[in-house]
């Protein structure tokens, strides 16, 4: 966005506020409303919102609000785990390939390029094809899909600091490779890592929703925002609320985390605030 730096940080604070509320709802919500998200009541199928069921019920008479809050837990947990895993794998590949160079780098760079050309959702679906759908697979699939892009950025950052004087001086002083990586390289690229990881949060949420929607993510009866969207697909024309409410939850959360991401990016790079949005 093109706002000056001050309103960027305001945006980021709004994002933190919204995301904070969603996290609180996910953590405390299921306890507060005290309804079992998996309790089936066939006499109360497809109900409209009422005092008893604030958001109505689904095709098996389960309380939508309870499933939404439970789904928030699952979706946010998947997102957090996938981003952490992608950060670990991506940084490891990026740092090793960027710092060591040579044949390893050549091989890794080509492989990264290959994955870079393939959209993440397709990579994620391929992982699901191999492992079978589950919560764990969803995490691994999203992490696998985003690790190459992550590694690519980290590799670039490492290459740009690798031969800087402060690294050279450590080398001359006789520091071991692992010491240089820990004390020189990683601290120098940490801002890049933070920006990249934050940017991944929104993308991971969207891919969880997409995998779930396709029926390849979290499997019923466990609820996640993706699996709620999948279940709503067949009844969209009769009971649109079942799709619109979890979908809206995804959209709001993604926009909130993108606001935070943009804010962090702008804080790290003042030129960005002037230059405006970039890819």
């Amino acid at each position: 966005m093109t706002f000056p730096a001050s309103s960027q940080s305001l945006d980021a604070r709004i994002g933190v506020g919204i995301l904070g509320l969603i996290v609180v709802a996910a953590v405390a919500g299921p306890v507060l409303i005290g309804i079992d998200p998996n309790s089936i009541d066939v006499t109360a199928r497809m109900q409209s919102p009422s005092a008893e069921h604030l958001l109505g019920t689904d095709s098996l008479g389960r309380d939508l609000l309870a499933r939404l809050l439970q789904g928030a837990r699952v979706s946010l947990m998947i997102c957090l785990a996938a981003v952490t895993l992608a950060t670990l794998i991506g940084s490891l590949i990026g740092i090793v390939s960027g710092y060591i160079g040579g044949v390893v780098d050549l091989f890794a760079a080509r492989l990264i390029d290959l994955f870079f050309a393939i959209p993440t959702l397709l990579v994620a679906i391929a992982v699901v094809a191999a492992l079978g759908p589950s919560i764990l697979t969803t995490i691994v699939a999203i992490a696998t899909a985003y690790s190459p892009t992550y590694a690519r950025v980290i590799r670039g950052a490492v290459v740009s600091v690798r031969d800087r004087p402060f690294v050279e001086s450590s080398r001359v002083a006789g520091a071991s490779t692992s010491r240089i990586l820990r004390l020189d390289i990683v601290p120098a690229i940490r801002p890049v890592m933070i920006v990249q990881s934050t940017a991944l949060v929104g993308a991971a949420l969207i891919d969880e929703a997409a995998l779930g929607f396709l029926g390849l993510g979290v499997q019923p009866p466990t609820s996640s925002w993706g699996s709620l969207l999948s279940a709503s697909r067949d009844v969209l024309l009769f009971h649109p609320g079942l799709a619109l409410i979890p979908g809206l939850a995804v959209v709001v959360t993604v926009i909130a985390s993108n606001l935070i991401g943009e804010g962090i990016r702008a804080a790290g790079d003042p030129r960005l605030a002037q230059r405006g949005a970039e890819a």
Partner: protein, 314 residues
Amino acid sequence: MLRYAAIRIATTVPLLVALSVIAFFGIRLLPGDPIGAMLGIAGNPELVDKLRHRYGFDLPLLQQYVIWLAAALRGDFGVSVSSQQEIGPLIAQRFPATIELMLASFLIAVGIAIPGGIVAGMNEGGRIDRTLSLLSFIGLGIPSFFLGMLFIVVFSLWLRVVPAGGYQAFAADPVENLRLLLMPAAVMGIASAPYLLRLTRSEVISIRREPFVAYAFARGLRARTIQVRYILRAALPALMSVLGLYIGLLLAGSITIEILFTWPGMARLFVGAVAQRDYAIVQALILLYGCLFVVINLAAELAQAALDPRVRLR
């Protein structure tokens, strides 16, 4: 240019080989084989052995790979384990629907995003720019299939102007084909336009800062002339490479959209095969999708090089 093209094409070949290795071994490295998945744990061991032999799963993996790749190059992807149909024709049947949907959404997205990006970039910081930036920021947060659900609710459920999904072959009934194409294509185009708009905008902004643009203004040329003849023309090479990645994005987006609108393209085959662990189809489609991306990106890079000598002389 010819030299550049030759080098680019030559470096693509190892990429395609790597892709075929990933498509084949990625699916096979994991425990269990398709027959096990097909029959379940209850499968009788004799039957399992017989079927494994029939599909060649008892051969060494490397040999299986070579046989598979050689056949795939001839367009023969084997037989679906679950439906016993030939995979080649199965894919060929669905390919046109996917391409039609992609082309239509591509035109819609380009029609929105390129003019939008130019206008936003030309009026950087102005009201139009801020509005478009805000809209595209929100748009980036909306998954395409959710936008599709919104469209279905609004246009099929409330306004009842278009059906919620379906397909009619163009050859059978062109008007009906286009009518059914309209909503999924619009959804995919609109959902992906923000990405393209932001890239166009930042490209336009960086070119607008170039001295030759300031000079054109100083000469008193009309704003429209500057936009089209100077800025758009200078932005074109970079947009070409962006479009390559963008088409990849569209192809991925088409997966959820085809499922939502029951569009009979490759996505339904793909998702169904993944759910049923029909390895032969999954391998064939990963290879096919992957090749499409690689080839589209190659074409985009070559177009960029053709338009911009700096790229090919670097």
